[in-house]
């Protein structure tokens, strides 16, 4: 039972009168990378937003066995869920270092925040060079690194990434995914990854969930997805 970090039961979600997700039951295991794939508009981003309490939901979400369904977003973050939203969510007017400090807001001790920042700089040396620069002036890749750094500052138990490769050059994407995989391997951090690049997502994750039209169409080990002809035809173009 404790192998599952996050579990949803009969989860529905939407915006106002529009229902996006219906009857979602997914399980996110501890210590692994879980890929969330599906076509545009299938509801991947909405699932992350529902978990973070950013949209109206029905049903239950359990994090480490306890319900978080109707908690405020900042309390869900305090439970240990970090969410890098689509579009990166950079605090554009703040400096790079202040962005990271905001990520460390839940960390009360000043020394722990300072240690956290040094850890982020060791993962992303480029951010250290630009520590006093206004975050809105960073390149897209640097902003994505900063967004991930800010999320890591929370010391999360689950990291949710919403299309981290969006709009970035292939070289930067490769660098970014190397770092993500590295953090998962060395720190055992559980990651839920939404990714347009399905091949990339499946090859770096242990498990995958396919969402179609707001419902879970399939879930299981990523290797099985890669070997499945239907998936290959629909999402991998071969």
């Amino acid at each position: 039972m404790s192998e599952m970090l996050l579990e949803t039961r009969a989860l529905g979600a939407g915006y106002g009168p529009v229902t996006v997700l219906r009857d979602i039951a997914v399980q996110i295991p501890k210590g692994q990378i879980t890929a969330l794939i599906g076509a545009n508009g299938a509801g991947k981003t909405t699932l992350l937003r529902a978990i973070s309490g950013l949209c109206a939901t029905s049903g239950d979400i359990l994090f480490d066995g306890s319900p978080i369904t109707r908690l405020a977003t900042n309390r869900i973050a305090a439970r240990g869920i970090a969410h890098v939203p689509d579009g990166r969510g950079t605090l554009a007017g703040l400096s790079v270092e202040d962005n990271l400090l905001v990520g460390g807001y839940l960390q009360r001790r000043r020394a722990a925040r300072a240690a956290g920042i040094e850890r982020i700089y060791s993962h992303f040396p480029k951010l250290k060079q630009r520590r006093h620069q206004q975050a809105g002036t960073l390149s897209g890749g640097e902003q994505q690194m900063l967004a991930i750094g800010r999320a890591l500052m929370q010391g999360p138990r689950l990291l949710m990434l919403d299309e981290p490769s969006f709009g970035l050059a292939p070289l930067i994407v490769r660098e970014l995914f190397t770092i993500i995989a590295d953090i998962n391997r060395t720190e055992g951090l559980s990651i839920l990854l939404v990714e347009q690049n399905v091949h990339q997502a499946l090859s770096m994750s242990q498990r995958a969930i396919l969402i179609e039209h707001g419902q879970v169409a399939r879930s299981g080990p990523s290797a099985e997805f890669l070997g499945n002809d239907d998936i290959r035809r629909a999402y991998l173009g071969s």
Binding site: S52, L54, A72, T73, N74, A77, A78, A82, H83, P85, G89, T90, L91, A92, G93, L94, D98, L101, V102, G103, Y105, L106, Q134, G136, T137, L138, S139, G140, Q143, R150, A151, M153, Q154, G167
Partner: protein, 290 residues
């Protein structure tokens, strides 16, 4: 020449008061992207609270502290009870809510405390100042007050984690929430701080013009001009803008447009800034790369 110096110095003094109210407007603009048109009326009510406390026998300085604390708490209550409901409303709806607050609080001041002009003592005492030539003790006190407020605000915003959380809330509330910042609470706190700073402005205005329910209407226009001139999203700009407006008002009133047209000058500055320099002197032209 001596008259120019004198008018400039007293312009800086009156401008400090505009700066206070302008800072209050900016603090709220930064988080809500709306202007709180009721800021002046909230401040006036707090000045009445100070006078009421003096009537109860409190020393003036303590009455002023009570009034500022009252403003802080009532600002937070107004945000929780009224403003919260309009956060996602359109600009027009928000403006109408602010005008309702404006009229409501203005009427409440008159109903409770009366519409007659009331003399209001300065906490800095009457008489001329012994430190700066040409200025009264109250004028010197006003300048010192705005310097202290600017200093405290700087320490709070740039050197405390609560201040950082407030800047994050103003910059990107969703990201702040996702990082665990209690955004709703910080918005409430912001209204409390703005109301407290506004109350200080009212306590500085009242000894000059007498206290009455409409006392802050003119000041609000100057403060609005100051906030726009400095850049609506910059508290430091608001202070620079406030002092500039005070000096311009004094000099132009004496040499150019005459005293009767001073308020029109403020309106002219508002129009000119919006047309020629919409981001203000110190406002941020947000640079973004995608």
């Amino acid at each position: 020449m001596q008259q120019v110096i004198q008018l400039t110095l007293s312009g800086i003094a009156i401008g400090s008061i505009y700066a206070c109210l302008a800072v209050a407007l900016v603090l709220i603009y930064k988080t809500t992207h709306h202007v709180n048109f009721a800021q002046g009326e909230m401040a006036t009510f707090s000045a009445y609270v100070a006078l009421f406390a003096v009537g109860l026998g409190l020393p003036l300085w303590l009455a002023a502290v009570v009034a500022v604390l009252f403003a802080f708490v009532s600002g937070m209550v107004i945000e929780r009870v009224v403003i919260r409901r309009f956060h996602s409303a359109s600009a027009t709806t928000f403006v109408v809510a602010c005008i309702a607050l404006f009229i409501g609080i203005n009427s409440l001041s008159g109903w409770i405390f009366g519409h007659d002009l009331k003399a209001f003592p300065s906490i800095f005492g009457a008489g001329t100042s012994s430190v700066v030539p040409f200025l009264s003790a109250h004028e010197v006190g006003s300048i010192v007050t705005v310097v202290v407020i600017a200093g405290l605000l700087y320490l709070f915003l740039s050197h405390t984690s609560l201040g950082l959380a407030m800047r994050a809330t103003a910059d990107n509330p969703v990201s702040a929430r996702l990082s665990g910042v209690p955004v709703d609470w910080l918005l409430t706190l912001g209204w409390g701080i703005a109301a407290a700073v506004g109350a200080v402005a009212a306590l500085l205005v009242a000894p000059i013009v007498f206290l009455d329910p409409n006392m802050m209407i003119g000041v609000l226009i100057y403060a609005f001009a100051a906030a726009l001139l400095g850049g609506l999203d910059s508290p430091w700009g608001a202070i620079v803008g406030g002092i500039l407006i005070g000096v311009i008002e004094n000099l132009a009133g004496a040499y150019v447009v005459g005293n009767d047209m001073k308020l029109s000058l403020a309106l002219l500055i508002i129009v000119a800034v919006l047309m020629l320099l919409p981001q203000g002197l110190l406002g941020r032209k947000t640079a973004t790369r995608v």
